[in-house]
């Protein structure tokens, strides 16, 4: 080391940091993690497609639920199923696991803006949702008897993508509230029964009436009803009520999540 170097003092020229760059890098590396370890996210992408192929495209061929073709109907509900899965697993469970590793702690200890962490995870979840919807649309249009005008197609995609907000809010809740080992189990215990009761696998009208009453309390029910409204195949509830339910649900989840983030005493597990 030269003497000149030793006497150099702190250079006070500090430019402000480049926030868009932080968000971009954070999101890029978040995506890179998913791409390099796809086994984690693959089931959430493939299960809806598999179910849809089986129950929608093949068993449902030529059949209808009311006036709507089964493949058409299930395209809406499995789309909802896929978006919820991407949120609960892609966001929620991965968040819980990283908390367990101590990666979250290290980021909290760095000057990273907290929002960058969540924006990155949200963007990846949006992308995963778009991929699930895309796969289902291709299957439905190519192999099912789905015949949608571009208008219906765009509207359906838009409504399904809206689900990203409430269910990622719920995902954060799981990510911050559950331990890394219990998070996958908790997510599944909520995900699968909720999907069934809310009529994502078969029309709500086909369920016993007490389950139909339970369904009304589920966010997935209100979400899928909005998607079915695009096809005029919903159970007849009011759009305003569905939207209001999902809005309030999102706010509650976010509020609890923020409290959990603050309370989280930098714990790591295992």
């Amino acid at each position: 080391m030269t003497t000149a170097e030793a006497v150099t003092t702190v250079t006070p020229q500090r430019t402000t940091r480049n926030l868009p760059r932080i968000y971009a890098l954070e999101s890029f590396y978040e995506l890179l993690k998913v791409v390099r370890l796809p086994t984690f996210i693959l089931p959430t992408l493939l299960f809806p497609a598999m179910f849809y192929l089986l129950f929608g495209v093949s068993f449902g061929s030529g059949k209808t639920f009311g006036d709507t073709g089964v493949a058409t109907y299930l395209l809406a509900t499995y789309g909802a199923f896929g978006v919820i899965g991407a949120a609960l697993f892609g966001f929620g469970v991965s968040c819980a696991i990283e908390r367990g590793q101590g990666w979250t702690l290290l980021k909290q200890a760095s000057p990273m803006p907290v929002s960058a962490y969540f924006v990155a995870k949200l963007l990846v979840s949006v992308l995963m949702s778009a991929i699930v919807i895309g796969i289902l649309l291709i299957l439905g249009l190519a192999f099912g008897d789905v015949a949608w005008q571009p208008g219906t197609l765009a509207k359906m995609t838009g409504v399904l993508m809206l689900g990203v907000i409430p269910f990622n809010a719920f995902g954060v809740l799981i990510g911050l509230g559950a331990g890394p080992n219990s998070a996958p189990a908790i997510a599944n215990i909520i995900y699968l029964p909720m999907a069934f009761v809310s009529g994502l696998w078969m029309p709500i009208q086909a369920l016993p009436s007490f389950l139909q009453q339970v369904a009304v309390t589920m966010p997935a029910y209100h979400y899928s009803q909005l998607a079915l409204k695009v096809l005029d195949a919903d159970a007849g509830g009011s759009t305003i009520i569905h939207l209001a339910y999902l809005g309030v649900f999102s706010v509650i989840c976010f509020t609890i999540a923020i409290a959990l983030w603050k309370r989280d005493e930098g714990k790591t597990f295992g």
Binding site: R17, L25, L105, Q108, M112, E265, T268
Partner: protein, 313 residues
């Protein structure tokens, strides 16, 4: 010698901090009303046995924990203030990074959090990561992982560096080069807070040692001052005097023969030496050594060890 400007703000302070984890019966009192000012431009080592509260103190300074009571400040602001945060870098004791990201990707990501980060090549150089720069984190050895964490801590060229047990698991050469990096940082006017269980490391690197135990500051001073807290010194020589005889002198705390040398622990070395010379004028190879940092540490942290003789009735 470095000049320390006394008018400068402390880099970070803990004012009357108490931190209790949990509530009720399961509550752990990690810190009990401690006060600590970390002066800028110094290496401060926080030492203490396992569970003393070192990591807790660092987490409070970084705003990762809320104190149960008391005030924390970081560069004169709250620890959450982004303006203060971009001046810090931290190496946490427990941290797992994503196995699938490459070393240079991790460094690039963390560098983006800072307004004036060091160049990537420079960081890889400092942390000794050139050979593994494009390897994914999951395929690094333990020591290499440790170096990546060091790289992430220094990448933003922070004014204040928190290092919680940074040299655990490093080989001797890496540890040496790590020390050299710390000295280089300090030469550039930076402030470092270090915890370590390698006491000779703290002795060699620190301007100041803060010793905490059971959540309280037990000692605070330069390494020299800390060592001076234990007045016990070791007198040794080659002599015909038996250990038993030496023990008869009231100032001799302990005496034994080790490889033909008589070794005596005492806090009145001069009196003991005079006494020994009286007994054996032929005594040779006389040596008086001050106690090391280890002795000081043990003495300072064992003050309140239960006195077993009290328990025997």
């Amino acid at each position: 010698m470095r000049k320390i400007n006394p008018a400068r703000l402390p880099a970070t302070t803990l004012h009357n901090i108490t931190k209790t984890y949990g509530r009720g019966k399961s509550a752990t009192h990690a810190l009990n009303s401690i006060n600590l000012d970390i002066r800028q431009g110094e290496v401060t080592s926080i030492l203490g046995p396992n569970g003393a509260g070192k990591t807790t103190a660092i987490k409070l300074m970084l705003g990762l924990l809320q104190p149960t009571s008391g005030e924390v400040s970081l560069f004169g602001s709250k620890p959450h203030d982004p303006v203060a945060r971009v001046r810090t870098g931290a190496m946490m004791q427990i941290a797992g990074l994503p196995d699938t990201l490459r070393v240079e990707e991790l460094v690039r990501l963390f560098s983006s959090y800072y307004p004036a980060p060091l160049a990537l090549d420079r960081i890889l150089d400092i942390a000794g990561l050139w050979e593994v720069r494009s390897r994914v984190f999951g395929k690094l050895s333990g020591g290499q992982k440790q170096r990546v964490m060091f790289a992430l801590a220094v990448c933003g060229d922070p004014d204040l560096l928190f290092l919680d047990e940074p040299t655990v698991g490093l080989d001797i050469e890496t540890r040496r080069s790590f020390w050299a990096q710390i000295r280089r940082f300090i030469a550039r006017g930076k402030t470092i807070i270090l915890t370590t269980h390698y006491l000779e490391e703290a002795d060699a690197l620190s301007d100041r040692i803060v010793l905490i135990d059971k959540g309280e500051v037990k000692a605070d001073g330069t390494p020299h001052e800390i060592k001076a807290t234990t007045s016990t010194r070791c007198v040794s020589c080659i002599t015909s005097i038996a250990a038993q005889t030496a023990l008869e002198h009231p100032a001799v705390q302990d005496a034994r023969v080790n490889r033909a040398r008589l070794e005596i622990a005492t806090s009145e070395a001069e009196a003991v030496v005079r006494h020994l010379l009286d007994l054996d004028p032929n005594l040779r190879d006389l040596e008086i050594v001050g106690a090391g940092i280890d002795e000081a540490f043990l003495q300072l942290t064992h003050d309140e060890a239960p006195n077993h003789s009290d328990l025997v009735s």
